[in-house]
Symmetry: C2
Subunit: 233 residues, 2 copies
């Protein structure tokens, strides 16, 4: 029975974590109720609740009403990726940022996107190709479709001073989105833009965002060779 110094919820979380790490509470085992823990620690139940809620958020314990709280059997690794706008990512590396708009036109939505990106039949979308630079070296190649029904103002913007990446974040907040991360072999044109050899493995992100049921934009970012997306867990 180890006493802990503080009644802070972080202190209590630390003690609960210790018991899980030290196997005082086995995986799968039910741990005491909030009320019991509150009594043991000499604090309010709210405080224990806060600590347990945090552990549940990180996947270490599973909480269910009536069934109580159990130590997770196979705690999944949860990692939070922070994906900043590209200018901030580059500047965060201490490099100079600039971007170059390679292509901009109106066109019908490609057939492959019709499933996920529901625009009106026959509507045209704004298509943009942009190359982002860090210290004059290519950093990311971007291909983007913008739904003009969701963001009509985009029709009249050149996107030469401010990139679409940044403009949309500030102009068209989304309610939700899909994100997928994958690897792709550099096609000939992409290889040339990113100053690398054809077929080089490149890290890529695809993202669709919506406001409500209205799709806003579909974007595919292909990073220069060697890029790693990092986070701590």
């Amino acid at each position: 029975m180890s006493l802990i110094e503080t009644n802070s919820w972080t202190g209590i979380r630390a003690e609960l974590l210790r018991r899980i790490h030290d196997r005082e509470w086995q995986p799968g085992e039910q741990i005491p109720h909030e009320a019991d823990l509150a009594e043991e620690f000499g604090c309010a139940r709210t405080t224990v609740n806060r600590a347990l809620r945090d552990l549940a958020d990180s996947g270490l314990v599973i909480r269910k009403r009536k069934a109580g709280t159990r130590v997770a059997l196979n705690p999944p690794q949860r990692a939070t990726l922070t994906i900043p706008i590209i200018r901030e990512e580059v500047e965060g590396l201490g490099l100079d940022y600039r971007h170059s708009l390679l292509e901009r036109d109106l066109r019908p939505l490609p057939a492959v996107l019709h499933g996920a990106f529901k625009v009106s039949l026959g509507a045209e979308v704004l298509f943009l190709k942009t190359l982002h630079f860090a210290d004059d070296r290519p950093f990311v190649y971007e291909e983007r479709y913008i739904n003009l029904e969701a963001v009509p103002d985009a029709r009249n913007r050149a996107f030469e001073t401010m990139s679409a990446n940044e403009w949309l974040v500030q102009t068209a907040p989304y309610t939700h989105g899909d994100l997928s991360l994958f690897a792709v072999n550099a096609a000939e044109d992409v290889a040339e833009l990113l100053d690398t050899a054809k077929d080089t493995a490149l890290f890529a992100i695809e993202r669709i965002t919506w406001t409500g049921v209205m799709p806003i934009t579909h974007v595919r970012l292909v990073y220069a060779p060697g890029y790693r997306m990092r986070t701590v867990i």
Copy 2:
């Protein structure tokens, strides 16, 4: 001045979100204090705090003592990746899981890892190569180093019935780790194992975990072609 129905913190969060989306509160603008909002919504300050804390966690507002709460200028996209153990990932796809241990030996730690993975000088680590299958098709190729000083029991385990991936999660809980996601061209041996052509772009994850200052394991997972890691934002 729209009234909201409930005093639930999620209801209040929804209303705050609406004001941000609808630009009633401009990006960068300071929003009312918790106390004012609590009065406006007719609820306790705690409840407003919970809603605002949630918005801050998702990056939409920036909170600072004394300075108040501001709408974020360039809300970064935060995505939570859940990385399950491979068996559960495969079974979650409705496929049969099995794995095959290709190699297992003791060796000194490779020089390139000495920076991040601090084991005693000259200590041997356990090296494992594993191929994970989904319905008899290769799914992930895994290369792993295990610090025997952190997990001595690993020395005597064959890792043939239970993969190291799964065993370590259950046996050696970590306190923190580094995760990086990247793309890699398939080397000849990896290409053969994953049943694909040399130089195919493959999605890969590298991960180091520690308990305290003691490194536990370094693992590199290379997924079969076409793999996408998805999440919602």
